[in-house]
Amino acid sequence: MDLNLVHMVLFLVGIIAFAAGNAAYLVWVERKGAARIQRRTGPCEVGPAGLIQPLADGAKLMSKQIVFPDGIDKPLFMLAPMFAMIPAVMIFVTIPFGPVGFGPFADFMIVAREMNIGLLMILAFASVNVMALLLGGWSSKNKYAVISAIRGVSQGIAFEIPLVITAITIVMISGSMQLSTIVEAQAGGFWNWNWMPLQGNLFGPVSFIVFFICFLAETNRAPFDLGEAESELIAGFHTEYSSMGFGLFFMGEYANIVIGASLTTILFLGGWTSPFPEFVPVLGASSFLWFLLKIYLLIWTVVLIRWTYPRVTLWSLLNLAWKILIPFALINLLGSAVLIKILPMLGL
């Protein structure tokens, strides 16, 4: 009982540190990455290669005055940034990072609180993010922010449907909503992972792409960053936010990217299992380092996409969700159901 409490406290501190540190340093990665793509140097003044820059930015944001414009809905205005950050931290509670994989505690599972309905809880909390956009945009009393909030909500709702349907497909294949079970079902090499069309799921690649697009759209990343289309809506829903109000939105965005990448890794890329457990014994067959490697590769892909593509319009975005992704996800669901349940029943 006591030990459990210590475990919980340690993990909560660790999770918050992980979320905040990731948010801070992903900004650095993004800025450096963008600079590299654009043949610039990026941040280079504060610390070696600008490594202290995120801390300096954080200190600057925290020391700034919070401006409350006239006529805003103050309680909601203050609540919105919290809605952006708190669910993100909550989600990290249930995400398993995998076993240590080496040393004396090789089998120790790095997870704050594994749940048997972990996936459900993550999806539930992830949808709270839309509330943050809506409240922030609405309460700022700024027309650009309101348009952005409306866009954000219609986008969030549209892409949540294919996201959830695709997740259900995986749940059907693995037979569990517990994330560690889903990962264990993919153990044994990359050909066993869910995105490969080998393991009873012919539609693996399609689901993976659908899920990845939905993840981009749900986290409001380019090319789906309509809510923050700076050439149209200034800064979108957080136009009126200053100081840590803006800081929390910003951290929430990056925390969501980490969550999205983690979820994609767990559902499709074998989580913490090694792609070649037999041939390449680096890092062991399963280790949280594999997990981190995979999510950071995914995040790097996200960064590359952002700095390469122009932005889509709202209409084509919604068309993509309702006319392409949702039908694909449904076909995918039906196809998987047939493969998993009906074919064995017929003795095939």
Partner: protein, 372 residues
């Protein structure tokens, strides 16, 4: 902003786009009446950077007015320089040496390339793609360096003189131009691969903001906007001036009239300008760069004169009225984007906000030129 509309129950609401807004590239203000994401009415409000260049023309001598020309359209300043010195040469009957003409055309076309490159980057930035802007700036930087080496300034050039040039170009400049063209030729396919062929970009431009040739005529649109609507009109071809008749180049015309057509016209114009620069370098004659007898005091004969040149954004024309003194009696500057923007209100009706901004970007606005 915002205070009344949120509490009203009206079907439409108003948005102030600008005068400070990332998409207007300057201090343009557009009063948008919106129905949700659709534009009911978009009224451009001008004058935020109005400097009354026309009045300055009336109280400065002809020669002292020359530097003003670099400050009207700061992105293709040399076309404006060219238009003005040619007007004065027309009034005074000054013959310009051939070498000076070649250098004029060469530098003007380099300036046109730099202007189009900047537009290309800024336009894709409007559409949400940030990276091409910096690539375009990278290339443009080479042009600015080259032009700086002969004109002495990087943006607001004042290089041409009545009857010639401020100074001669050397071989370093010409080899620099050749090297730059080689570099840009190798980079154009990259631009087309990165941007032109991009599915999202095509989705955002094809069919957006269609302008018919008739509408362009009614609104006096010129330049790439007119050529994107299928009208083969380029002052350099239709009303040849300087040495353009001796050069071999095409006028890119696209008949779709949408934003993609205007985009393609400008991208093709970069290629054509490269051809012109190459020919200028190859044919560059030796000789003087200044006309031997240019009067110290410019006093054109009484009368009024009109001269038009093709600037990067369309027809730039000057109507000067002289009363025989050393200052103009009236100096009318006809700025191309002024007319190109005037069709915005009608053409943007019923568009989505995002499309309207893409359309505005495709008009290639330079606000100081509109406001003069």
């Amino acid at each position: 902003m915002g205070s009344q509309a949120l509490s009203q129950n009206n079907e439409t609401f108003e948005i102030n786009l600008g005068p400070q807004h990332p998409a207007t590239h300057g201090v343009l203000r557009v009063k948008l009446t919106m129905d949700g994401e659709y534009i009911v009415d978009a009224e451009p409000v001008l004058g935020y950077i109005h400097r009354m260049h026309e009045l300055m023309g009336e109280n400065r001598t002809w020669a002292k007015y020359l530097p003003n020309m670099g400050r009207i359209d700061y992105l293709s300043a040399l076309s404006y320089n060219l238009g003005y010195v040619q007007l004065v040469e027309k009034m005074m009957g000054i013959e310009v040496p051939e070498r000076a003409e070649y250098i004029r055309v060469l530098t003007t076309e380099m300036n046109r390339i730099s202007s189009h490159l900047l537009w290309f980057g800024a336009f894709v930035l409007d559409l949400g793609g940030f990276t091409p802007l910096l690539y375009a700036f990278d290339d443009r930087e080479h042009i600015l360096d080259l032009l700086e080496s002969v004109t002495g300034s990087r943006l607001t050039y004042c290089y041409y003189r009545f009857g010639g040039l401020y100074n001669d170009v050397d071989d370093d400049f010409l080899t620099g131009c050749t090297q730059f063209l080689k570099r840009l030729r190798s980079r154009m396919p990259m631009y087309h691969k990165l941007v032109t062929g991009n599915v999202i970009l095509r989705q955002r431009l094809v069919g957006v903001g269609p302008l018919s040739a008739e509408m362009c005529r009614k609104y006096g649109a010129t330049g790439p906007v007119l050529r994107g609507s299928g009208v083969n009109y380029d002052v350099r071809k239709n009303e040849p001036y300087s040495i353009y008749p001796e050069l071999d180049f095409d006028v890119p015309v696209y008949s779709d009239g949408d934003s993609m057509a205007r985009y393609m016209v400008r991208m093709d114009e970069i290629e054509q300008s490269m051809r012109i620069v190459e020919q200028c370098i190859a044919k560059m004659p030796q000789g003087e760069i200044k006309a031997p007898k240019v009067p110290k005091l410019i006093k054109p004969a009484i009368g009024d004169y009109y001269h038009a040149v093709e600037a990067a954004r369309g027809t730039f024309a000057i109507r000067a009225v002289s009363d025989g003194k050393n200052q103009a009696y009236r100096m009318k500057l006809r700025a191309p984007t002024f007319c190109n923007l005037s069709l915005y209100q009608e053409a943007s009706k019923g568009m989505l906000l995002a499309d309207a901004l893409a359309f505005m970007g495709s008009l290639d606005l330079v606000i100081p030129e509109i406001d003069r």
